[in-house]
């Protein structure tokens, strides 16, 4: 995570400078609105990175080793189902109301399945934590 937000900040500054010149030069509301959306996205990304990394994303340097265990899903039928449901819902806007209801139903099912997958993922990590020694314990045991 360390340093991850820095290039985004540099890019945001460049875009901000261009937005300012556009505002001065053209004064066009829609154009400034376009830029403002992009700037808002960049600010949101930077804030999200800073908050989730406890500001490490704002510090220079290479990422440190992270030894926290994590469970990795192999497949996610829930995510695929939710996506197909969303697409069916949108398709239904042009091609019949049946698809709107069908798509919404699929989306709900898919999201429920994603919820179950995430719960299972959390349980796996907890199980791993309780069944294996923590990195601190390992270091203590290895110490002479």
């Amino acid at each position: 995570m360390r340093g991850g937000a820095l290039p985004v900040i540099v890019w945001g500054c460049l875009l901000g400078a261009l937005m300012a010149t556009n505002a001065i030069w053209t004064g066009d509301t829609i154009q400034i609105g376009d830029y403002a959306y992009a700037m808002l996205t960049i600010v949101t990304i930077v804030l999200a990175l800073a908050l989730t990394s406890r500001r490490r994303a704002l510090r220079r340097g290479a990422p440190e080793r992270d030894e926290r265990p994590e469970a990795v899903p192999d497949i996610s039928f829930g995510a695929a189902l939710a996506a197909v449901g969303f697409a069916a819902l949108i398709f239904g806007l042009a091609f019949g109301h049946f698809f709107i209801y069908f798509g919404a139903g699929l989306m709900v099912l898919g999201l429920a399945r994603v919820g179950a997958e995430l719960r299972s993922q959390r349980r796996t990590v907890e199980l791993h934590r309780t069944s294996s020694p923590s990195p601190a314990q390992v270091r203590r045991e290895r110490a002479p």
């Binding site: 995570m1 340093g3 991850g4 820095l6 985004v8 890019w11 460049l14 875009l15 261009l18 556009n22 030069w25 053209t26 066009d28 829609i30 154009q31 376009d34 830029y35 959306y37 992009a38 996205t41 960049i42 990304i45 990175l49 989730t52 994303a57 290479a62 990422p63 080793r65 992270d66 030894e67 265990p69 994590e70 469970a71 990795v72 899903p73 192999d74 497949i75 996610s76 039928f77 829930g78 995510a79 695929a80 939710a82 996506a83 197909v84 969303f86 697409a87 949108i90 398709f91 806007l93 042009a94 091609f95 994603v114 179950a116 997958e117 299972s120 796996t124 990590v125 199980l127 791993h128």
Partner: protein
């Protein structure tokens, strides 16, 4: 980076294609997206062949005018929304986590959803062909008032609008995952200034995607509302507002369709020159400036509308030559003094740089409003953007395919067949798009199903149509090469080219969590080259 506890009990592997379609493995998602994009490339290419058959001679009635409108709309839409852009993201999805030493991507479920939403968008868009009124036919940009329900009635155009919306949502989700991966899952030691060149090109591309594609989603949603009876883009101001919103996506996407392929060509050149990429920091800075600038040039598509401040956009558009020049300078610097090996990937990469130059230089002319007024809506523009997107990006794509195919499949592509592919593609490309400059200069209008009997136009158009046929043969040769190479595999090993970046430090194809062996120390953007150089120095010192 991360210690993986164990696979989820609830997610035991599902064998076969069912499991692979819902796989959260970034390599599988990248491959799925890449293969679907390739299919759409063939579909879009077929449309191009039909258009070129229609235009081969002045009064050819191969298709009706309405069908021609559908063809050029769907060809452009298919190539942009369903091939070049998603293929760039697919390459990033497959390669970037490997290059930055990550075991997996961030937010894998979002990536799975992104792939499916994008694919569904493609299917929805193409399903317009099955409707009574036919597919979308208001151009890949769907300007209002042309695209409103009075001027383009029918469900086909609705499906086009919603298909583009879905494709844009899907690609934004994929880009968000890549951005989160680069920001949060780099291996220990992989600082941002040690990321490989391709990873940087992908990084700036995904920044542009998340910064501009949602505007397209809003634009398409409003267009759909307009087509459903709401009055949103009203009067001449509404028309300009639509274009301002559309091109705020429409120009950055051109660079999303360029940067990752530039990265492919750069990696191929550096590895085949046995030299690290020249001027890395200048390249990184220029990529950041290039991408920010390319978010600020969109209204050069609107010079002739009279509704935008031409001076500002002429200024920013012309400024693009500075970072572009740095990239060319870096490429030449890498070649000079290198031990060049002319593999097919290297030749495609050189082809990318040479042919993109034609597209880029013609871009400088039309960045000037005075000249753009003359060239607007002529074949000059068609030639310009095909030289950037086809003669440029697609050559970069093939450079990447020949470079990374051994990593992805564990087998080499046949070099001899690859050379035939390259030669045919180069001939076909220049035959097809070169004469368009002449036709444009002579005033041939684009987006027309028929053209007048003007001296020389028939011959030039015939040459273009033959060229398009040669491109089709070249693509067939490529597909044959893939088929032969996978059927009679020549094992490639883990690092057949003596690569510079981390993807070559793992097996071919890489395992589920990418790296089973410890990563080499990451001391620069070319860690494997560092390792070899250190070993050579140590051997020299010992002897």
């Amino acid at each position: 980076m991360s210690t993986v506890a164990r696979p989820l009990p609830s997610s035991s592997r599902v064998p076969g294609w069912v499991g692979s379609l819902a796989s959260t493995d970034h390599k599988r998602i990248g491959l799925n997206m890449g293969l679907c994009s390739l299919f759409f490339f063939l579909v879009g290419g077929l449309m191009a062949l039909m258009m070129r058959t229609q235009l081969a001679q002045p009064a050819t009635h191969f298709v009706s005018d309405e069908t021609y409108n559908e063809l050029f709309t769907m060809h452009g839409s298919t190539m942009i929304y369903l091939f070049v852009t998603p293929m760039a993201l697919a390459l990033g999805m497959y390669l970037v986590p490997l290059q930055i030493g990550a075991a997996r991507i961030a937010w894998p479920r979002i990536a799975v959803s992104g792939f499916w939403v994008w694919l569904a968008g493609g299917v929805v868009m193409q399903s317009g062909w099955l409707t009574e009124e036919g597919a979308g036919r208001a151009g890949w940009f769907a300007y209002v008032p042309l695209s409103n329900s009075s001027n383009t009635p029918g469900v086909g155009q609705d499906l086009w609008t919603l298909g583009v919306l879905l494709a844009a949502v899907g690609m934004t989700l994929i880009a968000a995952c890549l951005l989160a991966t680069i920001a949060s899952r780099r291996a220990p030691g992989m600082s941002v200034l040690r990321m490989p060149v391709f990873a940087w090109t992908s990084f700036v591309s995904v920044l542009m995607v998340v910064g501009s594609f949602p505007v397209l989603v809003v634009t398409m949603a409003l267009l759909y509302a307009e087509r459903s009876g709401a009055h949103i883009y009203v009067g001449s101001e509404g028309v300009i507002d639509y274009q301002d919103m559309f091109w705020f996506f429409g120009h950055p996407v051109v660079y999303v369709m360029f940067f990752p392929y530039l990265g492919c060509a750069a990696e191929a050149i550096a590895v085949n020159a046995h030299k690290r990429w020249f001027g890395y920091k200048a390249f990184v800075l220029s990529m950041l400036a290039f991408s920010a600038l390319s978010m600020s040039v969109w209204s050069h598509h609107m010079f002739t509308t009279g509704g935008v401040t031409n001076q500002y956009f002429a200024f920013t558009s012309t400024m693009l030559v500075v970072p572009a020049g740095i990239e060319y300078f870096d490429m030449i610097g890498t070649l000079i003094g290198g031990a060049l090996v002319m593999r097919v990937s290297m030749l495609f990469a050189l082809g990318f740089f040479i042919q993109f130059l034609i597209g880029g230089l013609s871009g400088i002319f039309i960045a000037s409003p005075v000249l753009d007024y003359q060239a607007q809506a002529s074949y000059m523009i068609v030639a310009h953007f095909h030289y950037t997107l086809f003669a440029g990006s697609v050559f970069g794509f093939f450079a990447g395919v020949y470079h990374w195919f051994p990593k992805i499949t564990g087998a080499f592509l046949r070099e001899s067949i690859g050379r035939v592919h390259l030669v045919l593609l180069a001939i076909g490309t220049n035959m097809t798009f070169g004469p368009m400059f002449v036709l444009g200069e002579e005033g041939m209008t684009r987006r027309i199903a028929e053209y007048p009997q003007h001296p020389g136009w028939g011959t030039l158009n015939l040459i273009e149509s033959i060229g398009a046929g040669i491109i089709a043969v070249a693509v067939a040769v490529f597909l044959f090469n893939v088929w032969v190479s996978l059927r009679e595999r020549v094992p490639a090993g883990d690092d057949p080219w003596h690569g510079h970046t981390l993807e070559w430090a793992t097996s071919s194809p890489p395992p589920r969590l990418n790296f089973e062996r410890p990563l080499p120390p990451i001391t620069s953007y070319a860690p494997l080259l560092d390792l070899r150089e250190r070993a050579a120095r140590d051997a020299g010192a010992a002897s």
